[in-house]
């Protein structure tokens, strides 16, 4: 059974006014944090405290708080989305911390994710990769054939779904020593490569997406596998392998 209690914590939070200024760690202490609170609710509580002291609250990205929109980020005690495996920051709960803990909170750091303010970073490079080819070029007229006319083996549909479950949060990039986006791009490439609908453009898709990924300043994959471990949605390294195969195939065609 869930047991609720309150703890006191110390926070070391990265504060940075904007992209142009230098940032620094600030220290805060926060009392009476319910262990049933999520990590973001704890930050809400910190912000209420700061506002009460007429100080500027900490800016951080968040929205659905259900682990699905991919907007929350944060490097917590040196880990993307914090110490718990398989969760986003909004689904990390304070019961994972102990009374008196000191918690380090930093933005996702990567060349392709510039800091906007405090803990917020700009992840629009992911959007530009998607715009380069992460789609099936079907028009939106609705005049397509009946959906059951192309049966998709359950196994393929399930694997495509698993790849499509990527929420584009950027934890893979943030945790990678090379700042590589290959888990994200691999997931997108895989989703379409596994489905009959996406096969026609498979070669141009992977080439365009990889080109854009390089232009955005992401690093390369050296098979360390940290991305897979830190991914809140369990996106597998298989997707990187599949992307490499697709890429090789495309260059040979």
């Amino acid at each position: 059974m869930a047991s609720s209690k309150n703890i006191n914590i110390n926070l070391k939070v990265w504060r940075q006014k904007n992209a142009k200024t230098q940032g620094a760690m600030e220290t805060y202490s926060l009392a009476d944090v319910s262990t049933d609170s999520s990590f973001l609710e704890m930050l809400d509580q910190l912000n209420e405290q700061l506002i009460g002291e007429k100080k500027e609250p900490v800016a951080f990205d968040h929205d659905c708080r259900e682990g699905i929109c991919g907007m929350c980020s944060l490097f917590i005690n040196g880990q993307a989305h914090g110490p718990e495996m398989g969760v986003t920051t909004c689904q990390l709960h304070m019961r994972k911390f102990k009374d008196g803990d000191t918690i380090y909170v930093e933005p996702f750091r990567s060349k392709a994710f510039p800091v906007i303010k405090d803990l917020m970073v700009d992840r629009s490079s992911f959007d530009r990769i998607q715009q380069a080819g992460g789609f099936v070029s079907v028009n939106t007229s609705g005049n397509t054939q009946d959906a059951n006319n192309i049966p998709v083996p359950k196994h393929d549909a399930d694997r495509a779904f698993e790849a499509a479950a990527c929420i584009g949060c950027g934890a893979c990039v943030a945790t990678c020593k090379n700042g590589s986006a290959m888990l994200f791009v691999g997931a997108k490439v895989s989703q379409y490569a596994l489905l009959p609908q996406g096969k026609i453009e498979a070669a141009t898709r992977v080439q365009n997406m990889v080109r854009q990924m390089d232009e955005e300043g992401f690093g390369n994959c050296t098979n360390t596998g940290a991305c897979e471990i830190e991914c809140p949605k369990g996106i597998s390294l298989e997707n990187i392998a599949r992307m490499n195969r697709e890429y090789l195939k495309a260059t040979l065609e």
Binding site: E56, C64, D122, T144, F161, Q191
Partner: protein, 669 residues
């Protein structure tokens, strides 16, 4: 102004087709000369932006998030309806239409809902063609399941992440258009006012959330696709940033706001844990296919559970009250959301709630029966016709994991309880708003050139929304309705030319926005924006919530007015206007929630009947079921803005005409 719904004549089954055939068109070579602004990029906005971009219009799309793919449509779990009848269980366009009208408690527009049912079929085809990985059966065909309020299996799904997959599908179509240069995307921008020129919507004032700059954007038409206003309650299942501002500004500029009191309370949310809670999390309604809802039969058992002295698994089968199965044998656990929510409230109010925290509110959603049933089935499939209990449970849990695994994991992360071992605890929470900007059959508001799609409009759901119909409406509006109706409007604009943002109307609107921002920053009071938002939310939940009565509504109207006055005198917004300022963003939204909240109470007060999500305690039958008053209230209540006090608003009525459906009492027994 007289409300003209512009519903075309003719038989319901051919209305839309005939109407489409006679709408004006814009030739492909002229579309590039026409600008369209779309605000919001969830299912309704992204699908509209992608479609209009592809047609060749010059589109600008705006969202407050850092990327369109964050829109809250992404959180929808259960599924999307379509009248495909793949399961051969008697489904048809008519039956989807009928279920939706009945589910909406006969307060939706027949013609709109029929059109929705018609195009539902194309939505699935379109999404599959885009590479949306819906669940498949072992033959490679699309799988279906049931949702509340229906007796057929017409819901298409992708595990518990259907909204995510559909949104990513629409986002990919939008991304393609952005890549091609047909759509210009403005992330981290928030619309703060509508600009009208000569009575027509001709642009918006948007705030760049990173720099704080106010920007003027002009267009020949403006589409509002910004979702619902459930966050007026502070605690809801909506994303934290979901807000009413764009829709409300449009309302203040002349668009009528319809049925604001119709709020859907979703029956299966995770109960509140404490005072620091920021939002609520939904557990998909699809779980009701496999879960049985109950509370203890004996009040002393309920008390012991709340005190933490008894566990649900220790309550014997005969001591459990499966109250939905008891009260509604035909639909059982799959009654519509409003019915299930009220039934849960009724049991908790009677003292049978099970949550062991201060609220005491909660009921069980129990999977043990299903685990045994499916476990046995799986054992049989594997050739084991005499399985041990252990094997049955193990296989049953595997089955559940495959079908609902991500939901079970999410529940465990939030509550720290394992729902495979102990029943889930659930309680109703604010989820979806059926009210919204009034639109005609063309999805056009009472402001010419201002169109409103998806949850932001009022049109398709009546007083209650059945499950798996929100995703359907968002995509129907964006992919298959708006492209036709907006073209009809834009056909008159091929000679207009680019609209200058130097017009005095733009200057004035920008100054108004600037004035409001400065005013909020200058208060420098002592309470945070969230404190006000929480106070507003409490008034709304207690007095304009799951059940309303005359006295409470009258109190709410007065209390909200007082709170609003205090807000403008005592709010503290730190920082400045010319930077990223999340508190300022919230303050601007809460200011609008205050005005809207009061209108919701005003609307609920005038509607002296109970229907769907609107339950007036004075109007119920002996068994606690809703008492609708079709004679006096079979209308859409559309409010005209007349000033900051909602009590100044003027009510316009659009009578609902049912030509093809016979109105009956809503019976799920």
């Amino acid at each position: 102004m007289k409300l003209d719904s512009k519903i075309p004549a003719g038989h319901i089954s051919t209305k839309w087709t005939d109407y489409k055939d006679h709408l004006k068109l814009v030739a492909p070579n002229n579309r590039g000369k026409i600008d369209v602004i779309i605000v919001g990029t969830g299912l309704a906005g992204a699908s509209a932006a992608a479609s209009l971009g592809e047609m060749g219009y010059s589109v600008k799309a705006f969202c407050y998030q850092d990327s369109p793919r964050r829109a809250h449509s992404i959180a929808a779990q259960g599924g999307i309806n379509a009248a495909k009848n793949y399961q051969n269980d008697g489904d048809s366009i008519y039956r989807l239409f009928y279920d939706t009208i009945k589910g909406g408690d006969y307060r939706a527009r027949e013609a709109n809902v029929h059109r929705l049912a018609e195009v539902s079929v194309n939505i699935i085809d379109q999404c599959v063609a885009q590479g949306v990985p819906f669940a498949r059966d072992y033959g490679g065909l699309l799988d279906n399941r049931s949702f509340g309020g229906t007796q057929v299996q017409r819901t298409f799904y992708a595990a518990g992440q259907t909204g995510q997959q559909l949104l990513l599908g629409a986002y990919s179509a939008l991304s393609r258009q952005i890549g091609l240069g047909h759509v210009k995307m403005y992330n981290r921008h928030e619309m703060l006012d509508l600009v009208k020129v000569d009575g027509k919507a001709r642009g918006i004032i948007a705030r760049n959330l990173i720099t704080g700059d106010l920007e003027r954007h002009s267009a020949h038409a403006v589409v509002i696709a910004t979702g619902g206003y459930g966050n007026v309650y502070f605690l809801s299942t909506n994303a934290m940033g979901s807000n009413v501002t764009a829709a409300w500004k449009v309302h203040k500029k002349g668009a009528y706001f319809a049925n604001p009191c119709y709020v859907q309370i979703h029956p299966t949310c995770i109960p509140i844990h404490g005072t620091n809670q920021s939002k609520l999390t939904l557990m998909s309604e699809s779980l009701r296919n496999s879960g049985r809802i109950w509370v203890p039969k004996k009040i002393e058992d309920a008390e012991a559970i709340r005190a933490g002295k008894l566990k649900p698994t220790q309550i014997a089968e005969e001591d459990r009250d499966y109250y939905l199965e008891r009260r509604y044998p035909a639909f059982g656990n799959l009654v519509p959301r409003d019915v299930a929510s009220r039934a849960a409230k009724e049991r908790c109010d009677a003292g049978f709630g099970i949550e062991n925290n201060a609220t005491g509110e909660g009921v069980y959603l129990d999977f043990s029966t299903e685990i045994e049933k499916k476990g046995k089935e799986m054992a049989y499939i594997q050739g084991d016709h005499n399985p041990s209990k252990e094997t049955v449970i193990k296989l049953g849990k595997q089955w559940i994991e495959e079908k609902y695994g991500n939901l079970f994991t999410m529940y465990e992360k939030i509550t720290d309880e394992n729902p495979y071992e102990t029943p889930m605890k659930i309680y109703p929470a604010v989820h979806y708003t059926m009210g919204g900007v009034w639109v005609d059959y063309n999805l056009e508001s009472t402001i010419p050139g201002c169109f409103v799609t998806g949850e932001a409009n009022f049109s398709d759901h009546g007083a209650n929304r059945l499950g798996a119909s929100a995703l359907m409406q968002g995509l129907a509006d964006g992919y298959f309705v708006l492209p036709y109706t907006i073209s009809d409007y834009l056909a008159d604009d091929i000679r207009t030319g680019h609209i200058s943002t130097d017009l005095p109307e733009f200057v004035e609107a920008e100054n108004d926005v600037k004035g409001l921002i400065d005013r909020l920053l200058e208060v420098k009071g002592s309470k945070s924006v969230d404190q006000f938002h929480k106070e507003l939310g409490l008034i709304m939940w207690n007095k304009v919530g799951m059940a309303r009565n005359e006295q409470g509504l009258k109190e709410a109207i007065v209390e909200i007015a007082a709170l609003r006055e205090e807000f403008y005198n005592n709010v503290y917004v730190p920082g400045t206007a010319h930077e990223l300022n999340t508190e300022l963003e919230k303050a601007l939204r809460v200011a609008d929630f205050m005005e809207l909240g009061q209108l919701m109470a005003v609307d609920a007060l005038q509607r002296k009947e109970s229907c769907g999500g609107h339950f007036r305690e004075e109007y119920q039958d002996a068994e606690g079921e809703t008492l609708r008053d079709d004679e006096n209230f079979k209308f859409v209540g559309a409010w005209e803005y007349k000033g900051p006090e909602a009590t100044q608003a003027v009510l316009h009525k659009e009578e609902l005409v049912y030509e093809f459906i016979t109105i009956a009492a809503r019976n799920y027994k």
